[in-house]
Symmetry: C2
Subunit: 169 residues, 2 copies
């Protein structure tokens, strides 16, 4: 069984909160439970959307205010979240995008090139296909990233509406 699949199973099976899981991870590595780390877990799991480092920082208190966390610490902590299995990350347009891994079902994405929305979908068949192909090539799967680029339903409707009214694209 692959690591990717393993952590997925944990995610749905186990009933720990993200903070609990992270503290366990930190303790197992003799790392420290700090105010910043606690606060960031809380912030990151308060919303379900995909986000990048800047979006997270924007939602955090500014310098001089309570619970301020510096930019380097945000980056360092995001990496730890990925290691701890709380988040997954992938790259889009030159920056890292994060999403919940822990306690969140496995899925893949549509990426709309017009509105830049990331939409999720699930496909059990895809996992089967992945594992089959990997087996044929004797490749041990750890995880995968599948992004379908194109135009989402909303943008499709909008551009056909515009085409009718004016002659903008």
């Amino acid at each position: 069984m692959t690591e990717g699949t393993q952590s997925q199973l944990d995610a749905v099976t186990v009933s720990q909160s993200p903070i609990e899981r992270f503290e366990e991870y930190l303790q197992s590595r003799k790392l420290r439970i700090t105010d910043q780390r606690r606060f960031l877990v809380e912030q990151v799991f308060s919303r379900h959307e995909h986000f990048d480092a800047d979006q997270l920082i924007d939602q955090l208190p500014r310098k001089g205010h309570a619970n301020y966390v510096s930019r380097p610490t945000v980056y360092r902590t995001l990496k730890e979240f990925v290691d701890a299995g709380l988040l997954r990350s992938f790259e889009l347009n030159g920056r890292s995008v994060y999403e919940h891994d822990y306690g969140y079902p496995e899925h893949d994405h549509f990426y709309c090139v017009k509105c830049h929305a990331l939409l999720e979908f699930q496909s059990e068949q895809l996992i089967q296909l992945r594992d089959e192909v990997a087996k044929q090539h004797r490749f041990r799967v750890r995880s995968h990233r599948f992004i379908i680029q194109g135009v989402c339903d909303a943008c499709n409707r909008q551009s056909s509406r515009m085409r009718r009214k004016q002659d903008l694209v």
Copy 2:
């Protein structure tokens, strides 16, 4: 029919060389056929492997020598190759990776996290699955990127061999 699929069909159907196709593309957009562009097409299509901008630049003549092409021009031209349908690009570890699109069959990748090799595989089923899922979500497909991360056969064999001899991971 999606744009991605369209250019694939062209690629296998048409019998133009990459340079011919690129010149046609340039002419259609009233862009110019320069020494640098000609030279870069030649270089890029002289090898079949995946590459990034730095790897390409390393294989090019140095400053002061014949056929020197500056870094910005390499970047600008790689973008044009993608527009022209000669290359496709995707992001890996924070940089853009390019591969032949024109005259090369559609495929996806295994990425070995140990040796960092990119291995190709083809799956007709994957395309069908992609189009099916997209249809269900009324998403108009332009292209996709599917990367399976894990450990390749060679690295698997190597690490089991080492485990037997010593007790290195």
